[in-house]
Symmetry: C2
Subunit: 416 residues, 2 copies
Amino acid sequence: MTSAVRHTYSNDAALRSRAGRVLPNGMYGHQNAASLPPGFPQFFERGQGCRIWDSDGNEYIDFLCSYGPIVLGHQHPRVEAAAARQQALADCQNAPSARIVELAELLVAKTPLADWAIFCKNGSDATMLCMVIARAATGRGKVLVAQGAYHGAGPLLTPRATGGVTPQDRANILTYSYNDLASVEAGVEAAGDDLAAIIATPFRHDAPADLVPVDPGFALGLRAICDRTGAALILDDVRAGFRFHLGGSWEPIGVRPDLVAYSKAIANGYPLAAVLGRDSLRDGAGRIYATGSFWFAAVPMAAALATIAALEEEDAIARMVQAGLLLCDGLRRQAAAHDLVVTVSGPPQMPYMTFASDTGLERMTVFAGEAAQRGVYLHPRHNWFMSAALREEEIATALERTDEAFAGVRRRFGGS
Amino acid sequence: MTSAVRHTYSNDAALRSRAGRVLPNGMYGHQNAASLPPGFPQFFERGQGCRIWDSDGNEYIDFLCSYGPIVLGHQHPRVEAAAARQQALADCQNAPSARIVELAELLVAKTPLADWAIFCKNGSDATMLCMVIARAATGRGKVLVAQGAYHGAGPLLTPRATGGVTPQDRANILTYSYNDLASVEAGVEAAGDDLAAIIATPFRHDAPADLVPVDPGFALGLRAICDRTGAALILDDVRAGFRFHLGGSWEPIGVRPDLVAYSKAIANGYPLAAVLGRDSLRDGAGRIYATGSFWFAAVPMAAALATIAALEEEDAIARMVQAGLLLCDGLRRQAAAHDLVVTVSGPPQMPYMTFASDTGLERMTVFAGEAAQRGVYLHPRHNWFMSAALREEEIATALERTDEAFAGVRRRFGGS
């Protein structure tokens, strides 16, 4: 039986106080813990395999994986060795290293749709580049985006009408409803002869909501619409990429986009993103101007080469599926035993859970906070991510603790 | 006497051939060597101090410093040690490490104008964030940008009308002429009551052109215009930052902007960018949504802490000035001895050279190619960067070789 001693967070509180003076609101972006329940630290210090430690030394089993990048586990020996070997030679130079050729060749070989690759740094770079390349290739401006879908934080694609975004930034964005071809057709009609691209995630993973699988007929329909109109079909595989199929997350359903955006898990935490594309988009890709001081750095590319090799050789996707199934089945059983109604949605490698009648996520907030205080990191509002480092014993330990978290929800809110 | 044996480039040619199949045009962005003269490799393998080696093992004295990031020299021991220590703990986690607080505190302490900091990954992120923050803070949309100035490659700020940029992307950009306050006033009038910001580089470093110092009266005038109109004054210190003054490149002339964008040299090659701002912009910065999977990674922040400490303790700026003065004086003397008329412009830490009557840069192309073939890396169309690793002996070696490069220009084009 593992310890269920609750964590303390004094270092974290002191750091939050200092951060409040020198960072706007004390923190910003998706890693801002201000709105997470007590039990979620704002600062982390160390990671190893599927375990992470915060600045107070509290240990957690990690089911968020840095919001996706850590796919093999923290400090994966093969990836760390490859990165360290490259770092000892060079990272950011006057020109790329041979790693950029090796990695582009590897990705093109693994990805049936791809004939070429471009590298950048973050997912937002990659989705924006896909849009710009589609515009350059088609000479058109409008892009169809699913209502509520997150394709990056930049003004040109963000789904959030936050400060500093102008109407002009959004003038070329039209929306559709995910899995609803009629809404896509309406958007195509609205775009007239100016439709440059349709962008979609491989399944619906808008936060916070139950995850929704793609209807294969919907994906095929998008392909047909793009073939008919000459618009580019863009798959935003930033969040899901490398956890489903190494050839792209729509390979299992046989739908091949024209452009794919990858980032997050591509290098097990090293900063890298990629756009892969078909030959028909190569000229368009060659006519844009896109660059960044650190885009061609060799260390993340060496890490990506090692990550992709390890994903294959360690049968990592199957191991993530196995870990996710154990976790999801366990959560469903425990909820039922506590007379609580939950929906565990999404593929096992990237699941998410909601409680019935939990409109303000009050139950989920208590559940996640109780789990975090006991050393299980399950985000209350964002889908979770499995890593290949999770073994049966860690899932069992996590489930002992989530059982107590369910008990806390039951105590607070009663049964279903 | 050093060897003047010319380099060979067979590995580079083989890699270029492979790259031609899997990267659009074989390469893209600012590190594309396709338009550089023979002698400039497309691929690099290693760096150490002020020396770099390409994929054929050819050695160069580096006067480009990865287009700026390498400010202390390649593989600086203190920076590498700090990065390796951090890497052994964690880089990209579910939340930042304490390094984000330490680095924000350090930058705020060093930078007189700054009350807070935000971190991101590339210079383009930082300049775009400055623009978005200014819009959020003012509720206005228009941004005044110097004609021809480079503030990043994204569609919202790029000076290049390349493929994929829509008219809407540029609808809120108005231009002025650098060092010309009347043109700024005309832009202010055109913006009416919708002026969110004026952005400027600390001096004029548009490529390829002679570098032009800022007229202090111009900078003071921008400050006064922003004070009068309520627009934010943004200093784009991405390229020049950390080579002039650790408090920001306009500290020596006593003009303090409202927002500063930093990147490139902030972490001696590790990928990081920052926006620093005044308290008056803190609320605006807190109202935007900006984030990236790798923005909060700890290793580049640990490297930045070590870089800034080393810049101070090694008196690095003075050493870069000294190296640059030796190089620039030497080039001027050599040109005159060869009866060639050159302009060596810019501050010694970031100089650039042009030949008289060289409208197509034909002379500069021959000069830079001859220098590169002899192991001196001086970009023909982009300003150069000194590092603190350059010692008198390397400048002397470089000058022996540039003397031969000047002779090559003389042979090809005759004297002035």
